[in-house]
Symmetry: C2
Subunit: 408 residues, 2 copies
């Protein structure tokens, strides 16, 4: 079961002026479930994105990256049930067919459409079902469909993921709403399979792209469930410009900072929801590495802990077998690490110090923290000023169960 995700209600997800969303049940993998999402943006919207680093990136990722650099984007089409990845030239053609059809239905150019897919890899996309479903999705496009949109992009997710907030910019109320999906094959870069954040703020394209990268690096690129990087990951930020304030063009302005902080916060909320709903997750783990020489070595230590199956199964068992964390720190690849100088904390409990168990450590204190559904592992390297935080979950029977039966 997801770890401490508050129940999402439709009224929690605020509409964003300047765009509409439509959903269809296209029967892409299974009948009678929402599996097709269309987003339509008013003229003048800005769109920025960051995409998976996987060399086997999916066909829609290839097409979306091309379209994003060339055109003013006005539409997005997202399907679940099939990733259209590992599908070669046919996959590219299928992604373009989806763009063409949405363009035809809406009077736009195909290059103004971004396609996205998520689901099983290396199976042909049933693009005819997408084509058949698009008229329904377009016909029901409306502003307040965000909750249904969050449902429509789910695959192995147990709960839909969405978040909203409002900030003041230049005397105007600006709304930011995001949705995301993903619970396995989760690792930076990117981490979530799909994340969309929209705002009615007005911001130019280069500032928006900068902001998107910044937000991704502090949210979706800081989570891991199983260390597998998806072929389809994408994080898209849409700014419709309808809020009525002056366009943000300078990254050193106060308005930019307010917007960037708000969008980063929404992205981090969504990213943490993905971990809380990680496949089989029973615990939410924050791994914080402090006082490293640079952010890179902090991240290496944090990910060594967050990826270790032995550490993750110990969390699942609530077993304070904390030597496994020391072992992970030791193989993180920092050649000159002096283990006698570091400290390991479990929440506020000092567990290890001077290369071994801390003198004041009592197992009942470690056990008390391990029993909690939310745990912070903090490693203090004591060799510099840098810090990194990563979010992950434990590793349970259900992870194996879910992934041993995903296609059936």
């Amino acid at each position: 079961m997801p770890v401490n995700i508050p129940t999402l209600l439709p009224e929690h997800v605020l509409p964003v002026d300047g765009m509409t969303l439509g959903i269809a049940e296209a029967g892409i993998k299974k009948p009678n479930r929402k599996d097709l999402l269309v987003m339509l943006l008013d003229e003048g919207s800005q769109v920025a994105g960051v995409f998976t680093q996987n060399r086997f990136c999916a066909a829609p990722v290839v097409v979306a990256k091309q379209h994003l650099t060339r055109s003013h984007i006005r539409g997005l089409v997202v399907n679940t049930g099939n990733a259209n990845a590992g599908t070669g030239e046919t996959g590219i053609r299928d992604a373009l067919v989806a763009c063409n059809e949405l363009a035809r239905l809406t009077g736009l150019a195909p290059q103004q459409i971004l396609p996205f897919s998520t689901g099983v890899i290396m199976e042909p996309l049933p693009v005819d079902r997408i084509v058949a479903g698009l008229p329904v999705a377009v016909a029901n496009c409306k502003k307040d469909n965000w909750f249904s949109a969050a449902q429509a992009i789910m695959t192995t997710d147990i709960v839909p993921k969405a978040a909203s907030r409002q900030v003041q910019i230049d005397g105007r109320t600006v709304t930011i709403t995001g949705i995301a999906k993903g619970s396995g094959m989760i690792r930076p870069n990117m981490a979530t399979m799909l994340g969309y954040v929209a705002t009615d703020a007005a911001i130019d394209h280069s500032a928006l792209q900068f902001l998107t990268r910044h937000a991704a690096d502090r949210s979706f690129n800081r989570i891991t469930v199983d260390g597998d990087t998806s072929t389809n990951d994408a994080f898209i930020v849409i700014a419709t410009g309808k809020a009525g304030h002056r366009e943000i063009t300078r990254q050193d302005s106060a308005e930019f900072a307010v917007l960037q902080d708000a969008i980063t916060a929404i992205a981090a909320d969504l990213a943490k929801m993905i971990v809380r709903d990680g496949e089989g997750a029973t615990k939410f783990i924050t791994v914080q590495v402090d006082a490293g020489k640079d952010a890179d070595e902090c991240a290496r230590v944090a990910y060594a802990i967050a990826h270790s199956p032995l550490v993750k199964t110990a969390f699942f068992a609530s077993d304070p077998n904390l030597g496994r964390i020391l072992a992970a720190i030791g193989y993180a690849g920092i050649g000159d690490l002096d283990v006698s100088k570091l400290q390991l904390f479990l929440d506020e409990v000092l567990v290890a110090d001077r290369g071994g168990r801390a003198l004041d450590y009592h197992e009942e204190d470690g056990q008390r923290v391990m029993n909690q559904p939310e745990i912070t592992v903090r490693v203090v390297l004591n060799r510099g000023e840098a810090s990194t935080t990563v979010w992950t979950c434990d590793f349970s029977y259900d992870y194996v169960k879910i992934n041993a039966s995903y296609r059936s």
Copy 2:
């Protein structure tokens, strides 16, 4: 259950002239099990070793490395049930206490003893129990105790692991016998927690050290169960020199090649047994990457596949969800990989080609291979001449079960 490990009988494990082995039930973690092993070497023996790269390496590893560079080694003391790792200065003192006691009982110097431990990390070594058990172990030292020795070093291993072979060198019969333990926390470098290979061949120290590194790189450093690198891994090769041929001193000699090949073969046999007995393993997977630019990139691709929880759970389920292998290849970190040029084979079945599913691929062929207990995944990168092979196992409910309850 272990995957295709033939039942080991005591008569399969040949004694090695020039050394004896003794076992005791010291009650280190649990009563009534063999958990203490002593090996005593005749004067003139050569000993070489390679050890874990983990920065949190265990106290006995620190001591063994020091003793190995300084002295002619005559004794080894190995305990299971406690790793004496993450134990700081106390751990070093405890490892030296074990050396001192074995030295006292045998009339050797403490520096002539190598200590080894395996088991739980970050708990104090109950060295008093080792001291109490050593007289029994020394008293029952004999040549043909190899089978019991293989049992005495087991932790979560289901079966004892040993192998023997004989070769002719210089007209003399040379015997090589090895034992190993390990089934979780298995990843290069080193891979096994503990491996010992002994021969009665005569070889000088520098040639033996070269040979040991060569054998490790083709065996224990090519296996992975869960990607976790232990704090205690060690691979030790002992040469007693009793076989009666002229001492091998040149690495370009035919005699050296015969011995190196034989010891490497024993080491590879033992390494594969560790994977076959991997925690929760139901399948033995060979991952072979061919036609890469260099061995390093082949290894990166091979380990990306071998470590992917999604790939490993698909093998557990016998599910030919082979897109997961493509995804792992894609995130292996080869920035200029052209995925349209590579091929993926499952045994002899061509699965993927030209960036997608091969035209002639039928899922029933993939399913047939996936149903087997032994499977070869072959990736042909088509960008060079290098190759690497890695051995791994699948990822099952039982892996989680074993590691969620290891200490209880």
